[in-house]
Subunit: 198 residues, 2 copies
Amino acid sequence: MDYYSKQITKLIEQFSRLPGIGPKSAQRLAFHLIHMPKEQVQELASVMVEARENVRYCSQCYTLTDQEVCPICSNAARDHKTIMVVENTRDLAAYEKTGKYEGVYHVLHGAISPMLGIGPGDIKLKELMERLQGDVNEVIIATNSSLEGETTAMYISKLIKPTGIKVSRIASGVPVGGDLEYIDEVTLLRALEGRTEI
Amino acid sequence: MDYYSKQITKLIEQFSRLPGIGPKSAQRLAFHLIHMPKEQVQELASVMVEARENVRYCSQCYTLTDQEVCPICSNAARDHKTIMVVENTRDLAAYEKTGKYEGVYHVLHGAISPMLGIGPGDIKLKELMERLQGDVNEVIIATNSSLEGETTAMYISKLIKPTGIKVSRIASGVPVGGDLEYIDEVTLLRALEGRTEI
C-alpha cells in the first residue's frame, strides 16, 4: 500500500485488526479520523487508553467495572441473595436493560467448551462457589442457549445441587413475536417441553 | 447505560460516533479493546494521534501524506506532464492499485455540489489551475460518475479548454463482468454513446 503515506497505512492496518472491521471499513475509518478535529482524536485515544487501564473485574460479581465493587453489587436495594450467572458483561447488560431483575449477577467470562479446550477452571466458577458460602437463596443460570451454554448450565447445576441452594435455568422457547414457521426444530421442541398451564 | 461502568459507556459512545459503527458494533469494539493487551491499545491510540498530527496535504497534488511532497509527486520516474484529477485520496489509491497509470494526480478533496452548497472555491481547483502554468500535456478528469462528479468534470473542462491543454474524461460504461440485465439505464445509454469501433 505504497499509495498512502506510511502513517495512513499504519492506521488502516491497526483498524483492520479490530473485530468486524474489514479493509474497506478500516480505510473509511482512517480517512474519517484524519479529517476529525485534533482534540476529538486525542479524546478518543485517551478514552481508549484510560478504559483499558482502569477497567477491571468487580471483586464480587466479576463484571467489568472501573471500581473495586461494581454499581450493582454496591447497591443495597438489590436482592443480594439471588445470583444470576451469565457468560459475559454484555449478557448482564441485556438483563439490566429489561429493568425488571432485582438480584445481583455473577459473570463467568466464558462457557465450558471441550471443543475450544475451555474447562471449568478457565471461567469464574471457583469464584461463584466461594460466593455461595454466604447467604444465597437462588442461583439463576442464564448462560446462552448454545451447546457451550447448556453444558455450562448443567455443570454448574450439578456443582450447586449438593449445597441445597435452589438452582434454576432461564426458559428456552419461541421468542416473543417469533413466527413458528421460521423457528428451528430444537427451539420448537424446547418450547413444547417447557409449556406451562394457562 | 448504568449497567456498564462509566469508562466503558464513554468508550462505547466514542466508537458509535465513527462512521458505519452502530451501537452493537461499538459495544463489541469496546469489549474487544478492554480485553486487548495494554501495549496494543496504547499503540493503536498513539498511531491515531500521530496520524492526525502529521498527515497533511502534499504541496503539489494535495493528496494526504506525511511528507512535504508525496511519494508519487517526488518520483522522477512518473510522467509529471499528465495529471489525473480525482475527488479524494481513496480514488487516487484505487487508480494506483491498477499499477498501470504512470502520470501524477491532483486531489480536489470534494466535488462541486450546489445541493450541498459546495462551490468551485471549496475544492482544490485554484491549486489545479496554478499547476497548469507549468509544463502539462494532458489533464484526465477522473471524478466520480455521480451528478456532482459530472458537474465538476464539466466545470474543470470549461476552465482548462482556453489554455489549450488536452482535457479528457475517463469512460463511463458497463463494468467489466457486469451483466447488462442488472445495469441501470443511464449506464447502458452511456455505454452506447461511448461505444468504440472494434
